[in-house]
Amino acid sequence: MRFHFSRADLRDWGLWPAVLWTTLFFALPLAAMLAMSFAERVAGKITFTWTLANYAAFFTRAGGTFVQALINSLEVTILATILSILVAYPLAYILAYRVPAKWRRILLVLIVLPFWTSYVIRSYSWLLVLSQNGIISQTLLDLGLIAQPVGLGNSRFATVLGFVHFFAMLLTLTIFANLIQIKDSYRRAAADLGANNWQVFWHVTLPLSLPGVAVGAFLTFVLAIGDYITPQILGGNRELLLPQAIMLQIGRQADFPLASALSMILMLVVTVAFLVSAKRLKMERV
């Protein structure tokens, strides 16, 4: 490669503004947060004492509230991820193999349309459906299936439902993108060799589509475990998830050192999830 540096040549310097921006406004703030997580608040002032007290507080403070918040987060996120896959996979499968090609694009756009509402409005919309005098409760009353109105909001069920709604759309996209890349000839070859539909699916289609599932599942896990809005609006105050615990530290307490330590723990969990899914993906390629 010849390198002749001239100021006008975009190819030589074009990379730098984006790298600089990401370093200044992403990497540096993360470093600041890491430093902050070892700081202490003394009389309302933040001093950098390089203490581990904030990490100790995660385990000990408020009778293990924070550990419980992490456990809640993990439970809700894993449950939401599994349910999203179960909802999304058949949808992506139907879209890839049962829907005529000319309808695919428009149906795909239709399926992911509500994806483009903000978290805030989407969660509020679910509140309309789930509240005590909302649509589900009213419909069940009208059908005579229940005698008293039921409020389904303000619960873990509502949070999980909100997550599944959003992430099933995302997973449908990643799984569909994977399914349509599988060559038809593989499936036909299996059928020619005497496999029935179920065997073709189980031994050919499913294994080949797992990368799409893994990518979508990883994205779901990362985005769901870090989300503050859905549990705050739909989950109510019965239990805390980790992002809500973090937000409480920033908002009411202005305890940035503790909030930073909790955030670092959240990032650690996401990193572990990434390593696990990356390892899985590699194994499947072999």
């Binding site: 490669m1 001239s6 006008a8 040549d9 975009l10 190819r11 030589d12 074009g14 990379l15 730098w16 503004p17 984006a18 921006w21 990401t22 370093t23 406004f25 992403f26 990497a27 703030p29 993360l30 600041a32 947060m33 909802v87 058949p90 949808l91 694009r105 756009v109 349309l113 509500p114 483009w116 509402t117 903000s118 805030v120 409005i121 989407r122 509020y124 919309s125 309309l128 459906v129 005098n133 649509i135 009213q138 709604h165 099933a168 759309m169 990362v222 985005l223 870090g226 989300d227 503050y228 809005i229 992002p243 973090i246 920033i250 940035f256 909030a259 955030s263 959240l266 996401v270 990434f274």
Partner: protein, 270 residues
């Protein structure tokens, strides 16, 4: 294909049923949002009475909401422009030069995708605090560039192929200066991609709440105002505001879709 279409299997019925149920699930919340925005009454719950446009009228005359709407347009418009521009520069430079640390640079540029908005927002809040910078719409915009830059970069990078590189080479051989190559060859060839990246970034900024919440103070964006209104519970006015926000997002997404569709058609015909 035709022979296959004639065979109707029972599984097709199951597939159709599943598809219909999935669509119901997907559209139930947003459908209720829109329907009860037209509710003639104080509670956005069944039974439906109406329709009336009074709540839209109320939203459009709500000064706080309209100011926030303008702020959202401003933040989204400018931050998406910056994100698309920086993303394009980086993608072009990475695609056309053999950087020794190309892999590392890509990892850095894509890293913000894996970090929760809450953490990105809080990190910026802490950093701005330390530097004595006040919270403002500018701070929100900076945060939105951070979250949209990876997407814009990835979208543009995926569309930069050998095809354009050859035409660029031809232009250079014919004496075009470097800026002319970029401005007259690369950018025009990429314009559907660039517009798509811009509008996707705009929609994400338009809908974003946590970063805007943490980094703004007096001037706030639309999701932040709506968040504040949530405290007073369900109301048809909130439905109307939400419907407007959703309608604008959908209009943009459909525009992008049309753009990409026409782009593909042009490629197929050309």
């Amino acid at each position: 294909m035709r022979a296959q279409a004639k065979v109707i299997r029972w599984t097709d019925g199951v597939a159709l049923l599943y598809f219909a149920l999935a669509l119901l699930f997907i559209f139930l919340p947003v459908g209720s949002l829109i329907l009860f925005a037209f509710q003639d009454g104080l509670a956005p719950v069944p039974p439906f009475k109406g329709p009336t446009l009074q709540w839209f009228d109320k939203v459009l005359h709500n000064r706080r909401l309209m100011e926030a709407l303008w702020n959202s347009v401003l933040v989204g418009g400018v931050s998406s422009l910056v994100a698309t521009f920086l993303g394009f520069l980086a993608a072009f430079s990475l695609a056309r030069r053999d950087w020794r640390f190309a892999r590392g640079a890509q990892l850095l540029l894509m890293a913000p995708i894996t970090v929760s908005y809450l953490i990105i927002g809080m990190g910026l809040q802490i950093t701005f605090n330390m530097m004595g910078v006040d919270r403002s719409l500018l701070a929100v915009g900076i945060g939105h560039v951070v979250i949209n830059l990876p997407l814009c970069f990835a979208i543009v990078y995926s569309q930069l192929g050998e095809h354009q590189a050859n035409i660029e080479r031809a232009a250079r051989d014919l004496g075009a200066k470097e800026w002319q190559v970029v401005a007259l060859i690369t950018a025009p060839m990429l314009w559907p991609t660039l517009l798509a990246a811009y509008f996707i970034a705009f929609t994400l900024s338009w809908d974003e709440f946590v970063i805007a919440f943490l980094l703004s103070r007096f001037d706030v964006t639309l999701p932040v105002v709506i968040w504040g209104l949530l405290r007073s519970g369900l109301s048809p006015e909130l439905n109307a505001a939400g419907t407007l926000v959703f309608a604008i997002s959908v209009a943009i997404v459909l525009a992008v879709e049309l753009l990409l569709w026409r782009g593909r058609k042009a490629v197929a015909n050309g």
